[in-house]
Assembly symmetry: C2
DNA sequence: AGATGTTTGTGAACGTGAGAAGAAGGATCG
DNA sequence: CGATCCTTCTTCTCACGTTCACAAACATCT
């Protein structure tokens, strides 16, 4: 019995909404107040029909003959994505990648402040990284609760990834982004997404080969 | 008129082959010589029917009643993916992310050695990062040619991404991995893939919200 | 106020990929 | 040597997403 039920958003649409959001924020900072599906498609790198179909799923927020109101649309997309308020993030593993992520300012400004940083190495624990003190891995649950973290990032070696995921879930985190290669399994109630850079390079190498073959 | 034509590999299959490859390499290092689709599916995190369908596209390399020969399959997947020989990579932008990537040893051991590192900041040029000297951005073409780089990684701020992509293409690179947010357009002859971490977080936040709504 | 042009919203066709089921080939055991 | 079991390979069906086409709504110009 939800009141403002967002009917059912296809996964492909969910993946595009953040791209629209970024384009809209850019437009807004340029002082643009109204945007057509054609314009938004141009800045998002997709075609206009797709934009319209995606936006129509959120509701009929456009004015025919005019377009969409930028500020209003930003609010609606944020609402649907669950990014109305800042979402706090905890990073596990303060190595090369974990530090790079922590130092990156784009997450905080995009509504995803890094609030916790934990590691298992005694040499790293206690270090200050991007204004955050690295806490021991054992304190994960405490760190999560104190900072109300709802998203977790795994930036540890692959060998530790599964146990880190288990501990994140144990700490009350149900949304995980994993950078470690290899298989990590989680209960159905948990959303785990994987950023697999090695796979990305392989896919590029495949297309590179296809290109060379057609010459 | 290709001799050993690989008929036509669906994009979805191309994206899974690297995952199989990683699993197979792990199995091989454990001394496993033969693997069934069921076993491979388990380590890859997909279902067995999918594995069989993917592998059957490469050719009928399995023995019914037995399974697939691990070493042979590794070679075939590498061949199809174009990863038989090492593929050299150049990184543009030696900031937080560029350094983390350069220091990461998993790329080189996976067949993608980082061979070049360029930046535009005078303070960073000349620095040694992971055994590589950071060269000026203007020397990009030289760096690419001297090291026979075929893959390029963009790790610069978003504002510079488009011009970096243009210069990479100018230097003879047709396969690009972009970490910068925002739109980058390239000719059709170029393959550009994007790693969009902000989008990943947004997608996780969406599912997190869905979860909270059903409570 | 009417005509015209613009832009959204949606229904239908098309293509791709996933899953299920059955046929075929090979091994193993009696 | 024959029967049974196992696993690959292939075909079919269904769901999803994208693209195309068109109608409805709004603004603007005369
Ligand atoms: N650095 C990259 O550019 C890059 C690229 C692709 C993939 N990855 C993957 O990301 C992960 C991290 O890479 P990295 O380069 O930062 O590695 P790293 O070795 O620099 O850092 C890993 C950190 O995790 C910590 N750690 C180890 N086990 C832990 C545990 N059980 N709990 C908490 N912390 C633990 C270590 O102390 C270390 O500080 C790896 O799985 C790697 O394969 C990294
Ligand atoms: N660091 C992260 O974890 C992270 C996460 C998500 C996205 N990103 C994106 O990755 C990119 C890099 O992030 P970062 O944290 O490494 O930034 P950074 O500022 O630390 O590094 C950027 C580097 O690029 C160099 N540079 C700028 N313009 C250049 C040009 N025209 N040619 C060559 N080099 C140039 C700068 O000198 C700097 O060294 C950014 O677009 C960022 O949005 C980073």
């Amino acid at each position: 019995m939800d009141e403002v039920s967002t009917p059912l958003v296809p996964e492909a649409t969910v993946a595009r909404l953040p791209v629209y959001l970024r384009g809209l924020v850019d437009l807004a900072s340029d002082g643009v107040e109204t945007v057509s599906s054609e314009q938004l498609a141009a800045v998002a790198g997709v075609n206009a029909e797709n934009v319209r179909k995606d936006l129509s799923i959120l509701g009929s927020y456009g004015k025919r003959g005019v377009g969409y109101e930028v500020d209003f649309l930003i609010e609606q997309i944020k609402r649907v994505l669950g990014a109305g308020d800042p979402v706090s993030v905890v990073i596990v593993g303060a190595g090369n990648l974990g530090r790079a992520l922590a130092y990156y300012g784009g997450f905080a400004s995009g509504g995803f402040p890094i609030k916790g940083l934990v590691d298992s190495s005694p040499e790293i624990i206690g270090q200050e990284v991007a204004g955050i003190t690295v806490e021991p891995f054992e304190e994960l649950k405490d760190v999560v609760q104190k900072n109300s973290c709802t998203l977790g990032i795994i930036a540890t070696p692959a060998a530790a990834a599964q146990s880190v995921a288990d501990q994140l879930i144990n700490a009350g985190i149900y949304s995980i982004l994993n950078f470690a290669p290899g298989l990590v399994t989680v209960p159905e109630s948990v959303t785990l997404r994987k950023v697999d850079l090695a796979t990305e390079l392989h896919i590029l190498a495949f297309h590179e080969q296809q290109r060379e073959r057609n010459e």
